[in-house]
Amino acid sequence: MSEQEKVKVVLRRQEWEVEPGMTAKQLLQHLGLNPQSYLVTVNGELVSEDTRLQPGDFVRLVAVISGGRG
């Protein structure tokens, strides 16, 4: 058996690999990101913060804060 598949995480031009099993909220905390400032999508779908990440999931984080509007 091969090693358990990891979860791939991307945010803009940054990428991480994490172990499956944690929730979306725990993932953000683990990366030092404020859960209020990011949305989590798993395999293209928006998920709530208690969603548990499964082996092989592809997670894209969406920063929600924008600024400098004139």
């Binding site: 400032s37 913060e49 969406v62 924008s66 600024g67 400098g68 509007r69 004139g70």
Partner: protein
């Protein structure tokens, strides 16, 4: 986490409302809430034409989308800034907006191209003018405000809508409180009445958190400009928003309470009601007619050289795109020609 309405899997949890919703119920809730805010603050009616200032970002495109879904007469205004920053910021933003327009038959987009009309992009004017000083935001804001007012006036829109969300409003409120900017605090409100030839200004999203407008844009399938303007980096607004989100993470609802209790203090307790604007006599700008504090030309008109100011008025008519009409030849035409 389950949707409060149907018990299906929730896609978002709004802790400040103790409300979790699934995708279809969230989309429905978001649109209904917008209608509620429009009515509550008496922003506009279905008989009034609304001009939505769009940047290509999530808030403004989501706002335009929701207003059209609600059956309002909403058209768009876009100012092409000519900002590249290595990410083709303006070009990409414009592409997103054009895609949106193409998907919404009957809607209109009025486009002002700074470079084409005035001869210089925003970074170029900023470079040249005293107001710019390396950071184009001040010039950019001035030009956006002026052109928005001009187009609304010239094309007969009594209402100007912007996509400001609660995080924007709370950040401004925080900053204005930190510096006790009484004049700004006295004016901050979801609606600014018309007057002096200016359209009424409204912010229908002022009670949504920024993560909610982002969630709506994602769930509604709106392809928005995700990259930030390269000049926004390190902006104070972002700093204050992050600060408020730290507070929000520990005390759910703190942000909402901060903004709503400010509005309540104004509405119910007359906060700033007796604030008298220092009476600055307003003059009409000699060239454009927009009000200005000093006689002569307004700050906007003072930005430009003589030859630009003397162009015939037709040169300043915006380009209008009509939704649902193909702007490029279809593949069929291309192959048969």
């Amino acid at each position: 986490m389950k949707c409060r309405k149907c018990r299906e899997k929730a896609v978002i949890n709004m802790r400040q409302h103790k409300l979790a919703l699934c995708k279809p119920h969230y989309l429905e809730w978001f649109v209904e809430q917008t209608e509620r805010f429009i009515k509550k603050y008496k922003m506009f009616t279905r008989d009034e034409r609304v001009l939505v200032a769009v940047s290509g970002g999530k808030d403004s495109l989501a706002l335009w989308d929701v207003l059209l879904k609600l059956g309002y007469q909403a058209d768009g205004f876009y100012l092409r800034l000519g900002i590249d920053g290595g990410i083709r910021y303006s070009d990409e933003s414009y592409e997103k907006i054009k895609t949106f327009v193409a998907e919404h038959p009957g809607t209109q987009l009025h486009v002002v191209d700074a470079k084409e009309m005035y001869g210089e992009s925003i970074p170029e004017v900023a470079q040249r003018s005293r107001r710019g000083r390396g950071k184009p935001c001040s010039v950019c804001g001035l030009i956006k405000r002026h052109e928005m007012n001009r187009i609304a006036h010239d094309l007969g829109y009594p209402v100007l809508a912007t996509g400001h969300n609660l995080d924007d409003e709370a950040a401004v409120l925080f900053s204005n409180t930190l510096h006790w900017q009484v004049g700004y605090l006295a004016r901050q409100y979801p609606v600014l009445p018309e007057g002096n030839g200016f359209a009424r200004k409204v912010k229908p999203f002022c009670r949504f958190y920024e993560r909610e407008t982002a969630a709506y844009a994602l769930l509604a399938g709106i392809d928005y400009m995700y990259e930030e303007c390269p000049y926004s980096e390190g902006a104070n607004t972002i700093y204050y928003k992050e600060l408020l989100n730290k507070l929000e993470a520990e005390r759910p609802g703190a942000k909402l309470h901060f903004y709503l209790s400010f509005l309540r203090a104004k509405d119910k307790e007359g906060l700033f009601a007796n604030w008298e604007e220092k009476k600055v006599e307003l003059h009409a700008c000699e060239r454009c007619g927009q009000p200005t504090s000093a006689p002569g030309l307004c700050a906007f008109c003072r930005l430009w050289p003589e030859d630009v100011l003397n162009k015939p008025s037709e040169a300043f008519v915006p380009l209008t795109l009509i939704g649902g009409l193909k702007t490029e030849p279809s593949e069929e035409n291309a192959t048969t020609s």
